[in-house]
C-alpha cells in the first residue's frame, strides 16, 4: 500500500471513530466536550498551516478566532440573522483581519512577528471591553442560537467542517504551494532571489489560516451560545500552540489529535478539583519530555510503517 493511501485510510478510520464515539456513549456532556475539542482542533490545524509551514510562530491566532466568533455573535444576536450566515461571514471577516494585520507585520521576523500578532489580539480584547455598549464588555454577547437543537447533530456539523478543514489544508500543504511555504521557512532570501513573490505566499497562507480559524470561531460560538473577550485572549493562542506541540508541528493532522487529547484531558482531570492543574502539567511535561517531536504525528508515522 502506498504511504498516501495508508494516510487516507487512517484518516477515514479516525473520522469514523470520531463519528461513533458520542453516539455510543450517548452523554450530552461528552458530546459537548467533543464539540469544543473539534473547534480547538480546527484552530490548531489552521495555526499549524501558517506557522508550522512558514516557521513564523503566530502568538495572536485568537485574533482570528475572536473576529469569527464576534461576527457570528453580532449577526445572530444584534441582527437576528440565521446561524448559517455565520459560516460564510465569519471566515470572511477573519480574512479581512488577516489582511489588515498581515501586511504590516509579516515582514517582521521571529519574536517581532510573534509580538506584533500578540499585541494585535490584545488590542482587540481591550477594545471589546472599552466598547462594551456594543460588545457586551466582559460578559460578551449572549443568546446566540445553535445550528441544531440536537447536540449530536451539531457535533456532526462540526466534525464535517473539521474534516473539510484538515483535507483542504493537507491538500494545499502537499501541493507545490506547500513546498514554497516550506522553502520560505528555510531561506526567505533565496526564495526571493529565485523570483518567488514571497510576500504573496506569506499573506495568502495567513489568509487561509485565518479563514479556518474564523470558521472554527463561528462553530464554537454557536455551540457555546455566547461569545466573550476571552476569545481574543493571548492565553488562548498559547494554548493552541501547546496543542500543536503535543500533536507534532507541521503535520496538520497531528495538532488535531493534540487538541482533542488535551481538551479531553482537561475535562478528565475535573475529579482532581484543585489539583487538576498540577496533574495536567505533569502529564504534559512527561509527554513532551519523552516525546520531543510530539505525540500524535510520530505515533501515526510509526503505525503507518507497521501497516506497510
Amino acid at each position: 500500500m502506498s504511504e498516501h493511501r495508508t494516510d487516507w485510510l487512517g484518516a477515514l478510520v479516525v473520522l469514523v471513530a470520531l463519528a461513533l464515539v458520542p453516539a455510543i456513549l450517548g452523554s450530552s456532556y461528552i458530546t459537548g466536550i467533543m464539540t469544543v475539542a473539534l473547534c480547538f482542533a480546527m484552530w490548531a490545524a489552521s495555526w499549524d498551516f501558517m506557522s508550522g509551514l512558514t516557521g513564523r510562530e503566530n502568538f495572536g491566532h485568537s485574533l482570528f478566532i475572536g473576529a469569527g466568533a464576534y461576527t457570528a455573535g453580532f449577526l445572530n444576536v444584534n441582527f437576528g440573522a440565521s446561524p448559517w450566515w455565520s459560516l460564510a461571514a465569519s471566515p470572511l471577516v477573519a480574512v479581512a483581519f488577516s489582511l489588515v494585520i498581515g501586511f504590516p507585520t509579516l515582514r517582521l521576523r521571529g519574536p517581532y512577528f510573534a509580538l506584533a500578532m500578540l499585541s494585535g489580539a490584545a488590542v482587540m480584547q481591550s477594545l471589546t471591553i472599552i466598547f462594551s455598549e456594543y460588545t457586551g464588555g466582559q460578559d460578551g454577547l449572549n443568546g446566540l442560537f445553535p445550528f441544531f437543537d440536537s447536540e449530536l447533530t451539531q457535533y456532526y456539523l462540526t466534525l464535517f467542517f473539521l474534516a473539510a478543514t484538515v483535507t483542504t489544508l493537507r491538500l494545499v500543504a502537499n501541493s507545490p504551494w506547500g513546498t514554497i511555504l516550506r522553502a520560505i521557512r528555510g531561506d526567505e532570501a533565496s526564495c526571493q532571489a529565485a523570483g518567488i513573490n514571497v510576500t504573496f505566499y506569506k499573506i495568502a497562507s495567513l489568509m487561509i489560516s485565518a479563514a479556518f480559524a474564523g470558521l472554527g470561531g463561528a462553530l464554537y460560538a454557536h455551540y457555546q451560545l455566547q461569545v466573550g473577550p476571552d476569545l481574543f485572549a493571548v492565553i488562548l493562542s498559547i494554548n493552541i500552540i501547546i496543542m500543536v506541540y503535543v500533536g507534532g508541528m507541521g503535520s496538520i493532522y497531528g495538532p488535531v489529535g493534540g487538541a482533542i487529547l488535551l481538551i479531553l484531558l482537561t475535562e478528565a482531570l475535573r475529579a482532581f478539583s484543585e489539583y487538576r492543574l498540577w496533574v495536567y502539567t505533569l502529564i504534559l511535561m512527561l509527554i513532551l519530555f519523552f516525546l520531543p517531536q510530539g505525540l500524535v504525528a510520530p505515533l501515526w508515522r510509526r503505525l503507518r510503517t507497521i501497516a506497510q
Binding site: T105, G110, Y112, S119
Partner: protein, 284 residues
C-alpha cells in the same frame, strides 16, 4: 498638572526598573525572559513572608527578599535556560513555564486573596499641591538610586565593561577572554534582583496576589519594544514615554483607556519602526 507630573514620575520609575532588567538580559544573552514578572511577584511575596511569618524588620526583609530572588534568577539561568539558549522559542517556553510554576507555588502557599505588605513610610506628603503617599516617593527615589547604581556599575567597572562588550558582540567578547556563561548568570541575577526590588517597593500600594507578575511583564515588554530590545537607554526613555502617556490619558480622558496604551504602542512601533527608538537592527 502637579499630579500628572508626580504620579507619572513614580509610574515611569517603576516601569524603568522592570524594563531595564528585561532588556539587559535580552541584550546580553538574547534571552526573552517571560519569567521576569515572576521575579517582581517573588520580591513582593518575599517581603510579605519575611515580615509577616519570619517577623524580620521591614528593611532587612526587603534586602533579603531581593537577594534571594537574585539567586533564584541565577538558578533559573543555570539550570533551565542555559541548555536551551540556542533556540529563542525554547527559551520563551521554558521561562513561561517558570512564570506559571511560580504563580502556582505562590497560590498554593499564600492563597488567592491579596496580601498586605505594610508601608515603609506612613506619612503623606504634599508635593506641589498633590497628595502623594510616602511609599510612592520612596519607590521613586529607590528606583532612581538603583538605576544610577546600575549605570555606574556598567560604565565604571570592569565587570560592567565586560557585560557591555558581550551585548555589543558576544563572539568577539569571547575571543577576548570574557567568560560569557558566567556573565549571563550574573546578568540574570542582576535583572531578577532589580525586578524584585521593584516588587518590594510597590508591594505596599499594589495588589500582592499570585498573578501580579503578568501586568508588569506586559508593560516591560511594551517598553522594551518601544525603546528597542537590548537598549538600556531605550528602555528608560520608553518607560518615561509609556508612564507619562498612561498617566496623562488616565487624568485627561479616562482611566479605562490607559490600559490599551501599552499594547497599542507595541503594535505601532513594530509596524513603523520594528527596531524601536534605540534598537540596533543589525543585532538580529
Amino acid at each position: 498638572m502637579a499630579e500628572i507630573l508626580v504620579y507619572g514620575a513614580v509610574i515611569s520609575a517603576i516601569y524603568a526598573m522592570l524594563a531595564v532588567g528585561f532588556t539587559l538580559i535580552f541584550g546580553v544573552a538574547r534571552i526573552l525572559n517571560l519569567a521576569h514578572g515572576s521575579f517582581y511577584a517573588l520580591g513582593a511575596y518575599g517581603v510579605y513572608a519575611l515580615t509577616a511569618d519570619a517577623h524580620l524588620p521591614l528593611f532587612l526583609a526587603a534586602a533579603v527578599a531581593v537577594l534571594l530572588v537574585a539567586l533564584f534568577g541565577v538558578a533559573v539561568e543555570r539550570v533551565l535556560v542555559r541548555p536551551l539558549r540556542r533556540s529563542t522559542l525554547a527559551v520563551l517556553m521554558i521561562t513561561l513555564a517558570v512564570a506559571l510554576m511560580v504563580e502556582q507555588v505562590l497560590l498554593l502557599i499564600f492563597g488567592s486573596e491579596a496580601r498586605n505588605v505594610p508601608s515603609m513610610v506612613n506619612a503623606t506628603f504634599d508635593v506641589m499641591g498633590a497628595d502623594v503617599s510616602g511609599q510612592r516617593l520612596l519607590a521613586l527615589s529607590g528606583a532612581i538610586a538603583i538605576l544610577s547604581a546600575l549605570w555606574f556599575f556598567m560604565q565604571r567597572t570592569r565587570l560592567g565593561a565586560a557585560i557591555l562588550a558581550i551585548s555589543q558582540d558576544a563572539e568577539a567578547a569571547q575571543y577576548m577572554g570574557i567568560p560569557s556563561d558566567r556573565i549571563f548568570s550574573l546578568v540574570m541575577g542582576l535583572s531578577a534582583g532589580i525586578a524584585a526590588a521593584a516588587g518590594v517597593l510597590v508591594a505596599p500600594f499594589q495588589t500582592v496576589i499570585p498573578g501580579m507578575g503578568l501586568l508588569p511583564l506586559v508593560k516591560a515588554f511594551a517598553i522594551v519594544v518601544v525603546g528597542g530590545l537590548g537598549s538600556i537607554v531605550g528602555s528608560i526613555v520608553g518607560a518615561l514615554l509609556l508612564g507619562y502617556t498612561e498617566t496623562i490619558i488616565a487624568f485627561k480622558i479616562s482611566i479605562e483607556w490607559s490600559q490599551i496604551v501599552s499594547v497599542a504602542a507595541v503594535l505601532l512601533t513594530l509596524i513603523l519602526r520594528p527596531a524601536g527608538f534605540f534598537g540596533k537592527r543589525a543585532a538580529f
